[in-house]
């Protein structure tokens, strides 16, 4: 156990280091992306550009620039190139919207995915199952920004049932917050509901033929109890592990498209806008945060499963 944790932590640090270097390099290889020139603006003299370059250290070798930027990130004083605001402050300001979206949608897609999966499996081959299959397939085949735009058009513009995007902080007005989040939650969840219900359906159908399920039935336990305590409980393991990975990805910037369509002003949207401005520091921080969430949650999931299920052994990898 200790060995597993130590190896996971080392591996995580390595991955995060490599990701930060990679992100830094991606923006350094742009031939016409001189940040000093962009910061000085169009009508700038070569002197101002040179001065900016000196103060921001753009003349230093790349590795030195990288080290300085990383140091600033960890001391919390990293400043964005184009807006010249503290990146960490900006992220702190945007994080509530992203967390609201991720946590709410995570709950919605887990509950609905399990519900639809169970319904599908219980009615396998019948109308309900077929209909849910069609819905799941359409959900998996529709880009989330298209779905969001269509939903906004019909539900916020044609019928003014929901607000036209935007985010209201939970602390400011909980009801208004809920009102603004419902549509983004549902739209982001559709894809995942499609995947989860399909996976759970086939897991359930597989588990129903296990010997221990037959034993449980033979003992005379009611069908409902067999289903919930024996079949569903075991079929949920892969779903929960899938959920933790997807949830991490959504927190780590995976919800960019949903945030943009609904103009939630979250971390993902901040990343997308920063990338378009070729503003390296915010992108660097957000990408590292996202990768950290993914690596961290997958390690935690592995540990939890090892504790819950004695058949799973923890190895280095």
């Amino acid at each position: 156990m200790t060995r597993f944790v130590v190896r996971r932590v080392i591996s995580m640090v390595l991955v995060l280091f490599a990701i930060s270097v990679l992100t830094f390099l991606i923006f350094q290889v742009i031939p016409n992306g001189d940040p000093a020139q962009r910061m000085a603006g169009r009508l700038s003299t070569p002197e101002t550009v040179a001065a900016i370059r000196r103060t921001w250290g753009f003349d230093d070798p790349i590795w030195q620039q990288y080290l300085i930027t990383m140091k600033k990130i960890f001391t919390g004083e990293v400043i964005s190139y184009t807006q010249q605001v503290n990146v960490l402050d900006q992220i702190k300001q945007d994080l509530p919207a992203t967390l609201s979206l991720a946590i709410g949608a995570g709950i919605v897609w887990f509950v609905m995915g399990v519900l639809f999966g169970v319904l599908s499996a219980l009615r396998a081959g019948h109308f309900t199952d077929r209909a849910l299959t069609v819905v799941a397939l359409v959900g998996v085949s529709t880009p989330v920004f298209l779905l969001g735009a269509v939903a906004l058009y019909f539900l916020a513009f044609k019928v003014q049932l929901f607000p036209n995007g935007g985010y209201v902080p939970l602390t400011q007005d909980p009801l208004d917050w809920l009102y603004h989040m419902i549509l983004p939650w549902l739209v982001l969840s559709v894809l995942f509901i499609g995947i989860y219900s399909r996976v759970l359906r086939s897991n359930l159908l597989d588990t129903m033929n296990e010997d221990y399920v037959r034993t449980a039935r033979a003992k005379g336990i009611s069908e409902r109890r067999v289903l919930v305590r024996h079949v569903l409980r075991n079929s949920l393991i892969p779903i929960v592990s899938l959920w933790s990975l997807d949830f991490a990805a959504v927190i780590g910037g995976g919800a960019i498209l949903t945030e943009s369509v609904f103009n939630l002003q979250g971390v993902g949207q901040y990343a997308a806008e920063s990338i378009q401005r070729l503003d390296v520091p915010p992108v660097l921080v957000i990408v590292m945060l996202g990768a950290f969430a993914v690596v961290m949650l997958s390690a935690i999931t592995d540990v939890i499963f090892a504790l819950l299920d004695p058949r799973i052994r923890l190895t280095g990898r």
Partner: protein
């Protein structure tokens, strides 16, 4: 002795008969046979094929029917619809809706470009990016997965770290970071020279991003395969690692690879649309389904056909290949399906 032999043979024939008919048919022929019985998968496969053919015929449609190109502006033109002359783009900037005639069949966009023509050309670009990205993913993932699983040890360690790196990097963020920087600068790695607006840029990005999703399962499968007796036999027979990987391991993972292809094409088309929506995919004025949708989204309230036409086409194409892909998977692994159906019966009681 002779009786035993013939009994064995009879038994083998009976087993094959149960699964698909005549004896001595290869697994792929059998799979094809099963696929042919799956009408829904075939219908959706045909839908996808139809969309591909239509998009390939884009120049023909543009030349013979619409009489315009994908990037030709007609902002100041008028067009006769049912005997009435109409502006392609009204003085207030409202683009023409569908005319259901040869010219501007599906309407025009805010630049006075023919939506139907752009839809077909855009489909060509989307499908091209999807196909190239899938090709890149499959080739690289197969090499990485087989090498990691076969050699294990240091090779596996290094490759697994690289896969972890790509996998932990937020997909869409990696895509737009690469896409934005490459769209500005292009790629210049040795002999590989790409312009920033080349279609190969999004194809390259998408191809790289999805490698771990294919390479990881392949690696797992190879880890099991390399311990099998036929691999030992080949090794004893003097085959080197390359030969074993090529002619012993590869054929055994090929069905997994085939199952991944439609899935990857669908995912690649969706990611291309997402990247284009964020301005990091196919670059304007080149059309693609994604760029067309993102151009139209701001104008949904006044001209919803700008979004709905390419959106519907995209969903139909991806849906078609998804359902077909499910059919291929069931055909290649019939036991999974039979299992599902048997248990489905039991469950429905």
């Amino acid at each position: 002795m002779a009786t035993v032999d013939s009994t064995v043979r009879a038994g083998a024939t009976a087993a094959r008969d149960a699964d698909g008919g005549a004896a001595g048919i290869g697994p792929y022929r059998l799979a094809l046979r099963r696929l042919r019985r799956n009408k829904a998968a075939l219908a959706f496969g045909a839908l996808f094929a139809l969309i591909v053919v239509l998009c390939l015929c884009a120049p023909l449609y543009a030349d013979r029917i619409a009489h315009t190109g994908p990037n030709a502006n007609h902002v100041t033109d008028t067009v006769m619809v049912g005997g009435v002359s109409k502006d392609v783009v009204s003085p207030t900037g409202q683009p023409l809706g569908p005319t259901w005639h040869g010219r501007f069949l599906l309407g025009a966009d805010q630049n006075g470009r023919d939506i139907a023509v752009r839809l077909l050309y855009g489909g060509r670009n989307s499908l091209e990016v999807g196909a190239l990205a899938t090709l890149l993913t499959m080739v690289l993932a197969t090499i990485v997965g087989i090498a990691a699983g076969y050699f294990r040890g240091v090779v596996d360690g290094v490759l697994a770290r690289i896969l972890d790196l790509i996998w932990a990097y937020p997909v869409v963020l990696l895509g737009i970071a690469l896409g934005t920087s490459l769209a500005l600068g292009g790629i210049a790695i040795g002999p590989l020279q790409l312009q920033g607006n080349s279609l190969l840029v999004p194809a390259f990005i998408i191809g790289i991003v999805y490698i771990p999703y294919v390479a990881k399962p392949i690696r797992g499968q190879v880890l099991g395969l390399r311990e099998q007796e036929f691999v030992d036999a080949a090794r004893v027979g003097g085959a080197g690692p390359l030969r074993i990987m090529w002619s012993e391991i590869l054929p055994n993972v090929s069905s997994t690879l085939v199952v991944f292809v439609p899935l990857m094409v669908a995912n690649a088309i969706l990611l291309e649309a997402a990247l284009s929506y964020l301005g990091a995919g196919v670059q304007p004025p080149n059309p693609s389904w994604g760029t067309m949708i993102s151009d139209g989204i701001r104008l949904i309230p006044s001209a919803m056909h700008l979004t709905f036409v390419p959106g519907a086409m995209l969903v139909l194409a991806v849906l078609g290949i998804n359902v077909f892909g499910d059919g291929v998977r069931d055909a290649l692994d019939p036991r999974a399906k039979v299992r599902l159906e048997e248990r489905g019966e039991e469950a429905s009681r």
